[in-house]
Symmetry: C2
Subunit: 111 residues, 2 copies
DNA sequence: TTTTGGTACTTTGTCTTGCAAGGTATTGTT
DNA sequence: AACAATACCTTGCAAGACAAAGTACCAAAA
């Protein structure tokens, strides 16, 4: 059964490829915890939900791109603050290049 | 000099979100058959293999974005020429917008 | 003190999709 | 007939996005 393709689906599809890139971009600027990352991405029109972000952060941590520390919250449970590692910054360098190339490639195909 | 594995993974990841977009962009310019599409994308640095492209073309056809006709080949078996439909062009419009927004979003996150 | 509401992190199951590998089919050449 | 080149298609696996449900912590209200 083919699903009806909506505008949202198109955007969702395109977001997938750059999600990890966005996380590293954000964390390169400042440490953050999952819920705050979701809000920042939402503000930038890059919708992500918990079920996507948490496993993604764990994957990036397991790859050595991120590390985390626990911090008390003014209200509620403690927060897991993620920060980017040296390896993460190198990966981000690669991603910057890759992103630039993709953008160029699309431009080329468009002519 | 060979690029390391992770670099290739990063590029592959980012390509995923825009593959369908690239197909429609190409077919909006001229009809093409699968093997030629693979070559055109390869020239544009957007590597795709048969096992990816054939199911993708079938999906897009089932969604009404593409149609096809058989044409004799000067050498070898007949070719399945795909062309974009009206619905496909409308979808392409959406994708152009979506792509523009993603590019803008990334720029925003960078700053 | 129990309940409630807000915040935060985690896991499970499903669905889609990319891809390697192998298969089928047609045509021209040896 | 055998082979090479071209072209299309399928299968099985793996990764990942997401909805939904679960766990846990804290503070203020009942």
């Amino acid at each position: 059964m083919e699903k009806n393709v909506t505008t949202e689906n198109v955007r969702a599809q395109m977001r997938k490829g750059v999600l990890e890139y966005c996380i590293l971009l954000l964390l390169a600027k400042e440490d953050a915890y999952a819920s705050s990352i979701i809000n920042k991405l939402k503000e930038a029109n890059m919708i992500v939900v918990e079920g996507t972000l948490y496993p993604l952060l764990i994957r990036q941590k397991n790859q050595g791109l991120l590390q985390y520390r626990w911090e008390e919250s003014p209200q509620g449970p403690p927060r897991k603050y993620y920060s980017i590692t040296q390896k993460g910054r190198e990966q981000l360098e690669e991603m910057n290049n890759a992103w630039g190339e993709i953008v160029t490639t699309i431009e080329n195909i468009k002519n």
